[in-house]
């Protein structure tokens, strides 16, 4: 067994660029999925019954499907459905956004729903309007419950970006495996790939722990 670890160093620029793409995908997906999640959650909480049912169906559907399947499906269906040729990056982003929006919608809905009705009533008993009560009393408390879950979703998302490698998006997993195929340095490249994910993911996991401790809710 001879190992040539220099192959990792030789391709460091490609790997760095790929890591950048991974980060970009994560950030872009969250940038879409947070506002969309809020919209869907609001529909589930406050809208007219048929709309509520549609929103619930959306959430239940996307939470009960494997993401990798969604990626493939998006790759083949989106071009036909939208009549637009989307780049692999955009397709991957779309699949990720659809998936994470569903999770976020559930997080927001549960977070707001977990605030006791009594809080809203106490605020209204003082004479506040429903909007004022929600804005000043319910939302600040809901945010404390939502933040830790959102942080956890972020870390999962970061890992899930590896799945869009199957449609040749040049993020870390795809690029590392390409280099492996070109150089035949299987162990070295795959270990390097795992190590890079670990180096990025471990601190994020620890940060999530810290956020969960900091925002722990005591009733």
């Amino acid at each position: 067994m001879n190992f040539d670890w220099s192959v990792v160093g030789a391709h460091r620029h490609a790997l760095a660029a790929a890591t950048g793409t991974t980060v970009l995908l994560t950030v872009a997906t969250m940038a879409i999925a947070v506002p969309c999640g809020i919209v869907v959650a609001s529909v589930r909480l406050y809208a007219w019954a048929p709309l509520r049912a549609m929103a619930t169906a959306y959430v239940e559907l996307f939470r009960n499907l494997p993401l990798i399947l969604l990626v493939y499906w998006a790759f083949y269906v989106l071009p036909i459905a939208t009549d637009v040729g989307l780049s692999p990056f955009a397709t991957g982003l779309a699949a990720l956004a659809l998936n994470v929006t569903a999770y976020n919608a559930e997080t927001f809905r549960a977070g707001i729903g977990s605030i006791r009705r009594g809080q809203l009533e106490a605020a209204m008993a003082l004479g506040m309007s429903r909007t004022q009560a929600v804005r000043r009393i319910v939302l600040p408390q809901a945010v404390r419950r939502i933040l830790p879950v959102l942080a956890s979703t972020w870390v999962s998302l970061f890992k899930d970006t590896s799945l869009v490698s199957v449609i040749a998006v040049p993020e870390l997993a795809y690029v590392a495996m390409q280099i492996r195929a070109q150089t035949f340095r299987v162990l070295e490249m795959l270990t390097a790939m795992a190590a890079i994910y670990w180096l990025l993911g471990y601190p994020q996991a620890k940060l999530v722990d810290w956020i969960q401790r900091r925002y722990a809710v005591t009733e």
Partner: protein
């Protein structure tokens, strides 16, 4: 858009085989990760001093690294290190088990720690030994509380089997890929795959909810 379902009906055996593999892989890695996770949790809670940081490192590493990476490394890199060749299914089983056991260990730990200390105190006062307390008093309550989290984990397990397609395990995802490639009808094939996964996953989550509601009172002290 033309929809031609004959591709599904013509190849139903091929697809059914994939469903079988998915279920087998999910069941096997699920069971194995429950067992391994339990041992890991015990090691962390009751084991020697050095076990705790080792376990924490293991668990946090599995939280940091994607399943895809674990599976690919297990199938392609591990044989180089160990000199053993591995079947794709076996590699997927090992990779998934190691990954999921970390999450299972966390669920066990959280569940056991959530049982009120007073329960242990009361049992000690009766003269029970610690292993007895764990087995007869704490675990039964803890297991009930862990049920929703395990339900989630089962759901996660089933979804993660789809990633095994990347190392050519012939489960639903892989079979669909092959069929879609040969028939040039990706929309019908992948839509069918989505339906199958949904029909498997939706009852699992609902079923866990139902069971939990029935037995939840057993876990409240």
């Amino acid at each position: 858009m033309q929809v031609d379902l004959s591709v599904i009906t013509d190849h139903w055996r091929f697809l059914a085989y994939g469903i079988g593999v998915t279920i087998a892989l999910a069941a096997a890695s699920g069971a194995a990760s429950l067992a391994l996770g339990f041992l890991v949790a015990l090691a962390r809670l009751f084991g020697p001093r050095w076990a705790k940081p080792a376990v924490v490192l293991y668990i946090d590493s599995m939280r940091a690294v994607p399943v895809l990476v674990v599976l690919v490394w297990t199938f392609f890199a591990l044989p180089i290190l160990t000199g053993l060749t591995m079947q794709p299914f076996v590699a997927a089983l090992i990779g998934l088990t190691v990954h999921l056991a970390a999450y299972a260990a966390e669920i066990y730990r959280a569940g056991i720690e959530s049982v009120r200390r007073g329960q242990t105190r009361a049992s000690l006062a009766l003269g029970m030994s610690r292993p007895q307390i764990l087995r007869r008093i704490v675990l039964p309550q803890a297991l009930v509380r862990m049920l929703p989290a395990f339900g989630s984990l089962l759901s996660m397990t089933i979804k993660d089997t789809a990633i095994a397609s990347v190392i050519a395990v012939p489960e639903i995802m892989r079979q669909s890929e092959t069929l879609a490639g040969q028939s040039f009808q990706p929309i019908e094939v992948y839509s069918f795959a989505m339906l199958v996964y949904f029909l498997i996953l939706f009852p699992v989550t609902r079923g866990v909810d139902r069971i939990y509601r029935r037995v939840a009172h057993l876990g409240r002290s």
